[in-house]
Amino acid sequence: MLRVISAGALCTIQDLGRTGYQRFGVPLGGAMDRAACVIANRLVGNPPDAACLEITGPGAVFEVLAPCVIALAGADLGATFRGRALPPWMAHYLAGRGELAFEGRRWGARAYLALAGGIDVPPVLGARSTYLPGEFGGLAGRALRSGDVITAQPAGDLARRVGRIWPTPPDYAPQVRLLPFDGPVPNVLIAHAWRVGTQSNRIGLRLSGPQIEIDQPRARDSFGVFPGVIQLPPDGQPILLTADAQPTGGYPVIAIAIQADLHRVAQVLPGDALRFVPTTFEEAVDAWRRLQALLASPVEEDEGMALAARAGG
């Protein structure tokens, strides 16, 4: 059980999102970094789609109110419990009251905190994900704030989950592979590094760089889009759609980021750079196969760590 002391830049409850409601205009939603969400859950023995905290950037501080087992995955935001470092990609036993703080941005953008049992909020439209623009899901449809209390569903034997390590984190190279859509990928998209703009959010990354002009604005009536689609609005600066993207859009689509690289997109913040490289359909499917195999790989037990954790140190 955690109480929020400070939520930092943005802290929301997320799972793997909503399928089946896109025809009602509901986004897929869910964790920006689905790979990290799955890994955090697996480390504490949860189903992969249990609800986690998505902690964006440094600054979040929690008070641990009762002993619990957590796992951290994704960004390394310098987590500490009672001043002791908690590295990502492993499960930790928090033995009683104390302060859990995320005070620095060492790498990445979004850290995922799984609680053994999964965060206990009511599902809305089949998921516990917070959809901020629609004000539903998660905790009352909003971002967490100071004073909120986060509880987990019953988790059974906590000791069995302590000391687990994720052997191989996903590859977070800051480059994203692209497939073409209805014409070649514009060269300028590949040739330049793109700056993540300040108006970026969970709906999409607004990228700034050289002006992109396409020969024929491939205007279409609004059609289905999804995370990974790169749109080109009239201002010539691309938008890479992410988790909370609307399920339909009318802007021209100039390329598609492959599904196996979306966890990389989740780990950049405004001001960071992103590069794109072209790929093939074969490589995209192969990358997806390898990512799924990685997410299914066995959790390692570290007995020494487990004993130390149970002893409270």
């Binding site: 205009g25 623009p133 859509f181 609004s222 999804f226 339909t248 995209a284």
Partner: protein
């Protein structure tokens, strides 16, 4: 098949787009295709297209395209969907009513008369949860979007743009011309289904003075 364009959309999706000039016919085709594929695939019908998403570890893009083509070959000329007719009471007092009417060369009363003259088809729910794209509207009611979108449009705003009429289910940014206001709740995540309207339904707008 000549009326369709089938485009891979990344390694895990295919877009099938109906090229018929008539939007209403293209929409009926898209929904018929989505219904035919919906038992086997994750489909998202839109105004004139269907997005099919799949796991590339279970199916190849070529297999998905073959399945789409097989269904298109059997499609024939679909009947218009048999949806419900939903009445939406509207106070026609939107901030853009006079300007929109003027741009169309109509009086405000004539715009209202035409907007309420017949039921219009819900072609798609998109843009935001529960937002209906309703139409297609005739040329006499077709205006381009506003040059400058508003950062916030009030929930319940009834609007027209680009050959469609729509209703803002929530406070949202928007570039359509606001001609009226309704109290009907378009989207409620606690309701099943969450959206009041579904594609295929018809909407009859009714002027009310309350």
């Amino acid at each position: 098949m000549k009326d369709w364009r089938i485009l891979p959309m990344g390694e895990a999706a295919v877009l099938a787009e109906c090229a018929l000039a008539d939007v209403a016919a293209a929409n009926a085709h898209a929904h018929a295709l989505a219904d035919a594929l919906g038992t086997a695939f994750d489909v998202l019908p839109a105004i004139r297209s269907v997005l099919i998403r799949f796991d590339p570890l279970h199916r190849t893009t070529a297999q998905v395209i073959a399945a789409i083509e097989a269904q298109i070959a059997q499609l024939g000329t679909p009947e218009p969907p048999k949806g419900r007719i939903v009445t939406i009471p509207v106070r026609y007092d939107g901030p853009d009513l006079e300007e929109a009417a003027h741009s169309l060369g109509l009086s405000a009363d004539e715009l209202i008369r035409r907007h309420t003259a017949q039921p219009w088809r819900v072609l798609m729910i998109g843009f935001a949860p529960g937002f209906p794209y309703i139409g297609p509207l005739p040329p006499a009611l077709t205006l381009p979007r506003r040059a400058t979108p508003r950062p916030a449009v009030p929930a319940g705003s009834v609007a027209i743009a680009a050959g469609f009429t729509g209703i803002y289910p929530a406070r949202l940014p928007g570039g359509w011309h606001l001609i009226g206001q309704t109290d009907v709740v378009l989207f409620d995540p606690q309701r099943t289904p969450p959206a009041l309207l579904s594609a295929g339904d018809e909407v009859q707008f009714v002027a009310c003075c309350a």
